[in-house]
């Protein structure tokens, strides 16, 4: 083999990938991809879902094996057969879904799979070592804490710690912010910067333009398995341009919303109290309502009772006090089936664990709500021909990209799976829909598609409750926005179509951090610092 010199010899390349090809059945996930990572930089890897970002990085982390192409680490060609090979060359990956043992401590998780300690665990000694590594990079975690006791952000730090403890110099972060609350994202960025300061390099996989422009030094953009922009400095390129490189067309950053006259109340939540899974109060006297032809938003920092709210409305969680009415019928503390049969549909936050059955086919997944009714149900039997026809219609209408409808949905990408779920929920022509984080983890193109579907619901006269952490999304789609904080509504603001009132975002921001609306109005936005 020939020793190719790095294209910019003055800066040593931490990682160089040339002509990487990786195929999956029916998809060319990496199509002769080149990738360069300079030492000591944060490199953003941008692309839509299914663009091949994770595939490329899984090749670099030793999880997949490329079919063609070479990888060089610090100029030397390497051959990875397992993540262990990759970590031996200083490359470690933090996956979107964490790979931790919940019942074990942080230290035990960090040591898992290592040869040292060999037999006796001698935990106190290693607790200190793990803590020292954490200290060095500003990763604050208690080494003796069990994983299940930690928040998602802390668990992510444990994953980072695992890689740093193993001596990783190149850290691949696969969509690290998808699971984090806004404050945690700032914390993560601080950690990444402190790692760079100590000579590490970071590959930051994302499809969020804002984050990539904020944190990355250089950006590589992938589309359909090809590179559309290679190592461009992130300061020298506009967000619009990056978006165009990602999706291949200009994204319109506003939503086209028609005026709709709201009708009667469809959903009425009255003074609801409920507990979370740990038995702690999650909702404390929450009231809100949604009218026909309205999209009503619930804004708030993650973990303030949003999930519990959606579960109480859909009957998946009991409420201690208070009531929920759907078009005059009481739906709280009733079977989920009652809501389903009375025109309620639900797009849950957790697509894989709640919204779908991973090993069942697309057909089996799209009939989850209507399998009790004709034409799918014939007596006690299922008409699989009708079900297949229905699934194929949805596949066409909602652009679900899948070889055929008998494919198990675990093989679908995140965006495609969300289309399957939305297709199922919307095809029922609901009177009322709860959507929780419907665009989380989706790419720009898919987000636009979801927004259009939600607006179409509104124009068709449905009532939509949209629970989201994306403020832009709420401001673009909603007619009114409630702000939730620690299980209570801090206030409600109307969102006029086509114009943005001064101070609106500041007001919402203040409510999200716990200041009730009436107090803000009394004191004025500026008064609170």
């Amino acid at each position: 083999m020939t020793q190719t010199t790095p294209s910019t010899p003055e800066i040593p390349l931490a990682v160089e990938m040339r002509g990487i090809v990786k195929r999956f059945p029916g998809v060319l996930a990496s199509n002769h991809v080149d990738f360069e990572l300079r030492a000591g930089e944060i490199h953003g890897l941008l692309g839509e879902n299914g663009a091949g970002k994770s595939t490329l990085m899984n090749v670099l982390a030793g999880l997949y094996r490329q079919e063609a192409g070479i990888i060089k680490v610090k100029g030397k060609p390497v051959d990875f057969y397992s993540p262990r090979d990759a970590i031996n060359h200083g490359i470690g990956m933090v996956h979107q879904h964490f790979m931790l043992v919940p019942s074990q401590t942080v230290t035990e998780n960090v040591l898992l799979g290592l040869d040292d300690p060999r037999f006796f665990m001698r935990l106190p000694e290693y607790d200190a070592k793990v803590a020292a590594v954490g200290e060095r990079f500003g990763l604050k975690v208690d080494p003796r804490a069990k994983i299940w006791q930690l928040s998602v952000g802390e668990q992510q730090r444990v994953e980072l710690l695992k890689m740093l403890y193993r001596g990783a110099n190149v850290l691949i972060m696969d969509e690290p912010t998808a699971v984090l609350a806004p404050q945690e994202i700032d914390g993560l960025f601080d950690i990444l910067r402190s790692m760079i300061a100590q000579g590490k390099s970071v590959i930051f996989i994302s499809h969020k333009l804002n984050e990539v422009s904020e944190i990355a030094d250089h950006v590589t953009v992938l589309r359909n398995g090809r590179v559309t922009a290679s190592s461009v400095p992130s300061k020298g390129v506009s967000k619009q341009e990056l978006a165009r490189l990602m999706v291949g067309r200009d994204i319109v950053f506003f939503v086209d919303k028609k005026p709709v006259e709201p009708g009667e109340k469809v959903l009425d939540v009255k003074d609801v109290h409920a507990e979370n899974d740990k038995g702690l109060p999650a909702l404390r006297g929450l009231s809100l309502n949604v009218r026909k032809g309205e999209i009503v938003g619930v804004a708030g920092v993650a973990g303030n009772g949003q999930n519990e709210l959606s579960q109480v409305i859909t009957g998946l969680r009991k409420c201690k006090k208070g009531e929920v009415f759907l078009g005059g019928d009481k739906v709280s503390n009733r079977d989920t089936l009652f809501g389903i049969q009375h025109g309620m549909s639900y797009v849950p936050e957790d697509r894989t664990h709640v919204g779908s059955a991973p090993n069942l086919s697309v057909t089996d997944n799209v009939i989850m709500k209507n399998f009790r009714k004709p034409p799918i149900s014939k007596g006690g039997l299922l008409d699989m021909t009708a079900a297949g026809k229905f699934a194929n219609e949805l596949k066409q209408a909602y652009d679900i990209i899948v070889p055929n409808v008998n494919t198990p949905v675990r093989l679908l990408s995140g965006g495609n799976l969300q289309r399957v779920i939305l297709a199922r929920e919307i095809s029922e022509h609901p009177d009322f829909m709860v959507a929780v984080q419907p665009t989380r983890g989706l790419d720009v193109g898919a987000i636009e598609g979801v927004h259009k579907l939600l607006l179409a619901q509104r124009e068709a006269g449905a009532a939509v409750l949209l629970i989201s952490e994306e403020l832009d999304e709420l401001l673009g789609l909603c007619d009114r926005v409630y702000v939730i904080y620690e299980g209570k509504i801090m206030g409600e603001v109307p969102i006029p179509i086509g114009k943005r009132e001064d101070g609106l975002i500041e007001t919402i921001g203040l409510m999200m951090t716990g200041t009730p609306l009436d107090q803000i109005q009394k004191e004025g936005v500026g008064a609170n610092d």
Binding site: M1, F24, P25, R65, I70, V73, K76, P77, V78, D79, Y81, D85, N88, H89, T314, L316, D335, T336, L337, F338, G339, I340, Q341, Y346, P348, D350, H353, V354, G355, S356, A357, P358, N359, L360, D364, I367, M368, K369, F371, R372, S377, G380, L381, L382, M384, T407, P408, L411
Partner: protein
């Protein structure tokens, strides 16, 4: 350190790589892999037979001859396969919902008890027409099995009692229960068995038709096989083509999604355990009325319920495949007795089992042999 690792790999010439499969293998693939596994198992078994001083080819021919050689032994194979078939169907439907019913054995025994009670209690007079007698026996057997399935099902649904433990323990209770009846109440002259059933309570056997068709002389295959095949087809329809089956599959794959879809999970746990128990109970009825013709512990509690667990897994819980796998196991049990009371046949059974289970690996992973210098 990094350089040494890569140079070591280079010098090896070629290597075997194991990669997870990301796509669904084509439909013929599992069949081919399973056949391959059986062939590999037979080769391994052959090596062991020759170590033991036997001639592997001769032994295999003898086993084949002793289980499929003529209509007589084929019929015996089928008689052995029938209880396994029904027990395996029972296990498959519970396993489909990830309910680990280890109690098919006990449900089978209770089914035999229920069917026997119709004769011995007696619930029906001895001269009741045969069709009525058998129908009532089958229903009683299924009911008894269903009750034995209901108890752990209810405990699981209401109190989250681990069904593995409860069903396992209930097997022992079932054996003790029929022992009580055959040692005491229904004992035949102090022996540990009930009196023989009247002919009206026997499932029809092929040999009964030997007068019209002489070829059927001596064949003991009984109508239980028919019950088993009907049950397999009905179960297939339930699981893959009915609303209930869809609910079962959805709960089995993701209970959270099932709850979200408005499916009653606690109810289904109870119903599925009852269906599972009823199928095993039907197996017990078929065995007592088709083969044993009296209530007696040892030929009934012969471990069919446990063999059913293995058969259900080997058939990947598919009711139709269970029919075929049951016949294979029937043959192994029968031929086993033919060449050696224990030992070699059990060993071959074991090797086939391990090979089949291990071959599952090939469905989930792809093995490739690559030359080291072929890749850069």
């Amino acid at each position: 350190m990094t350089e040494t690792t890569s140079s070591q790999k280079k010098s090896m010439g070629f290597k075997i790589r194991v990669e997870p499969r990301l796509d669904e293998p084509p439909a013929w693939h599992p069949v081919l892999v399973s056949l391959g596994a059986i062939i590999v198992a037979l080769i391994l078994g052959g090596i062991l037979i020759s170590f033991a001083g036997g001639d592997p080819i001769k032994s295999y021919l003898h086993i084949a001859d002793a289980s499929f050689g003529d209509t007589g032994v084929l019929s015996d194979t089928i008689v052995k396969a029938t209880p396994i078939l029904l027990a395996a169907l029972a296990c498959s439907v519970a396993f489909r919902m990830k309910l680990w019913n280890i109690g098919a054995e006990g449900q089978f025994i209770m089914g035999a008890f229920g069917a026997s009670a119709v004769v011995l209690a007696p619930l029906l007079a001895e001269d009741t027409p045969r069709w009525l007698f058998l129908t009532v026996m089958a229903l009683a057997g299924m009911a008894a099995g269903a009750i034995w399935g209901f108890i752990p099902g209810y405990l699981k649904a209401k109190f989250n009692v681990n069904e593995i433990i409860s069903t396992l323990m209930m097997n022992y209770i079932a054996v003790a229960w029929i022992n009580f009846w055959i040692f005491g109440v229904w004992s035949e002259g102090g022996f540990q068995m009930s009196p023989k059933f009247p002919n009206n309570a026997w499932l029809p056997r092929l040999l009964e038709y030997a007068k019209t068709y002489p070829a059927l002389r001596g064949l003991t295959t009984h109508a239980g096989l028919l019950l088993g095949i009907i049950a397999a087809v009905v179960l297939w329809l339930i699981v893959y083509r009915s609303r209930w089956g869809y609910e079962i599959r959805l709960i089995g794959d993701n209970p959270h999604a099932a709850k979200y879809a408005g499916i009653n999970i606690t109810g289904n746990i109870i119903y599925v355990m009852m269906l599972s128990g009823a199928l095993a109970g039907l197996g017990g009825m078929s065995e007592v009325s088709g083969v044993v013709h009296r209530l007696q512990t040892s030929p009934l509690a012969a471990g069919y319920g446990f063999t059913g667990i293995i058969v259900a897994w080997l058939a990947k819980l598919n009711p139709i495949v269970i029919v075929l796998v049951s016949v294979l196991f029937g043959a192994l049990i029968l031929a086993g007795r033919e060449i050696q009371p224990s030992g070699v046949p059990k060993m071959i059974q074991g090797i086939i089992l391990v090979s089949l289970i291990a071959s599952d690996f090939l469905l989930r992973y792809r093995i490739r042999i690559v030359r080291a210098d072929a890749e850069e």
